[in-house]
Symmetry: C2
């Protein structure tokens, strides 16, 4: 069994990005600039945004975090989005989800200029992904594709079972893995809460991407020997023995599944760091496309 080490892989990709940024700067160009909008006081969101800010520093990007109060209105947030759309110094920006209940998330997502939408959430970017056109692939699926690539995992003709049909992980993952290319060319089955007898699908899978958000859902008897296991789950489970009072648990029962797997991602240290570095890749790409469009 080989660990799909997202920490080491993402560190190597960060080094590559940092090198490209220094080349840009040496050529007299500006550093890519990523802005994150954080509305309200969600603990997990604050953690994610801090991790993104840290990564920006490591690769040499400029970064800004706009912290807006919980009571920000939709109109005020739309105004910020519009300002960032028109700010030539900003290459890409994200609006950290979830937003407070009184704000229509989809309206905000669709207000972001697709050319600065480094989360890849705007419908036009989702559509381009589905069509196999160049675009910002949303960070988690992008990170998983990069991780499979880094470990030279042969996906062609393999049966991949994706657990979960969310718009930000399961569905784009199914679209990417079924497209021509490498990684890609998989026969993909998408399972979800309505699937009858999920184990009957996972047991025949060469590759499993678990993104249901159910801690330790995938047990040892649900996978075949030699399967490749990608665990997207990241649930905080209360744990008094930990300093923070919780531990992070994936969708895979690691101790049972790992001995059967050929490759498996740990949680944490697997998909998580790949997600963050993929946002950096998208931001660099945004800066490059903006430059080309000048």
């Amino acid at each position: 069994m080989v660990l799909l080490d997202g920490k080491t892989t993402s560190a190597a990709i960060k080094q590559q990005i940092a090198k490209q940024v220094e080349e840009l700067v040496a050529n007299g160009e500006k550093r890519p600039h990523l802005v994150a909008i954080l509305v309200g006081d969600n603990g997990a969101s604050k953690t994610y945004v801090a991790a993104k800010e840290k990564a920006c520093g490591e690769v040499g990007f400029n970064s800004t975090v706009l912290r807006l109060p919980e009571e920000t209105t939709e109109a005020e947030l739309l105004k910020e989005v519009d300002r960032l759309n028109h700010d030539d110094d900003v290459d890409g920006f994200i609006v950290q989800l979830p937003l407070p209940k009184h704000i229509n998330e989809q309206r905000i997502i669709e207000a972001v200029d697709p050319s600065k939408d480094v989360d890849g959430f705007h419908p036009v970017n989702v559509g381009k992904l589905s069509l196999g056109l160049p675009t910002f692939v949303s960070a988690t699926p992008f990170g998983i594709m990069e991780l499979l690539k880094a470990y030279n995992i042969d996906t062609k003709g393999k049966h991949c079972v994706v657990l979960g049909r969310s718009n930000i992980v399961g569905r784009p993952m199914a679209n990417l893995l079924s497209q021509k290319g490498n990684p890609g060319d998989c026969t993909v089955t998408i399972c979800h809460s309505r699937t009858q007898d999920i184990a009957s699908y996972t047991r025949s899978a060469d590759i499993i991407v678990a993104a249901l958000g159910v801690p330790e859902f995938l047990k040892g008897d649900m996978v075949k020997d030699g399967a490749v296991i990608v665990d997207v789950g990241i649930t905080r489970v209360p744990d008094e023995t930990r300093p923070k009072g919780y531990r992070i648990v994936g969708d895979v029962a690691f101790d049972e599944v790992a001995p059967k797997a050929s490759y498996i991602t740990p949680v944490p240290g697997g998909v998580g760091p790949m997600t963050i570095v993929s946002l950096m890749k998208n931001t660099l790409q945004a800066a490059q496309w903006r430059k080309q469009a000048e």
Copy 2:
């Protein structure tokens, strides 16, 4: 075995549309207007456009066919598209594909105003489909969903195998059938030219959508008893005994598969007429959305 009769079903839907159009007109509103651009001299394209024009007449739409010569340049075609985008009398329009080789199809598709893109080919509409948002669903997948609905076929939790990953049929079909709703909530497997042992997937399928474009690909021994079979194939096979010199063959070996199926579409007379009537539904929808946006 029950025939999924696209001819009868589409005729009933056409009657509903015609009734809605007469109500619009009685209220002093204009008839929906669909324009088709036909470039060059492709035989199949001419047949399709003629069928669409005929359907417009049957439901009471205004229709226009712009016939442009094979040697039309991309710039000239873009100019036509731009003109239609801004023509307030036009509710929706399609550019019949394929286009001559010297024209970049994707560039044309992306030039169409998404609010008039009744084929649902623009990336923003493809993205909205993937996200489960209201949009123009491209006509073939839309027609298949309507046919399943018309026959009250229970799809929830069923295993659906989609053969083919094209952008206009296989991929949107997989996205629609795996979404929440009815029809929908299927566990979907998408198979394609790189799939190893396709029969191992089709044999466990409750529903099969065959859209590979390979005549009589799906044989009797590849389906289980009671499966629902949707045949999207429409290949012209030379046949001297027919007046036109060819016959239309689907992707399903009908004579072998039909006795095992619970429901099956004939070819012709199954998916084809549903596709055309779905374009009419999209055009009526375009007119309604335009009216709401006024």
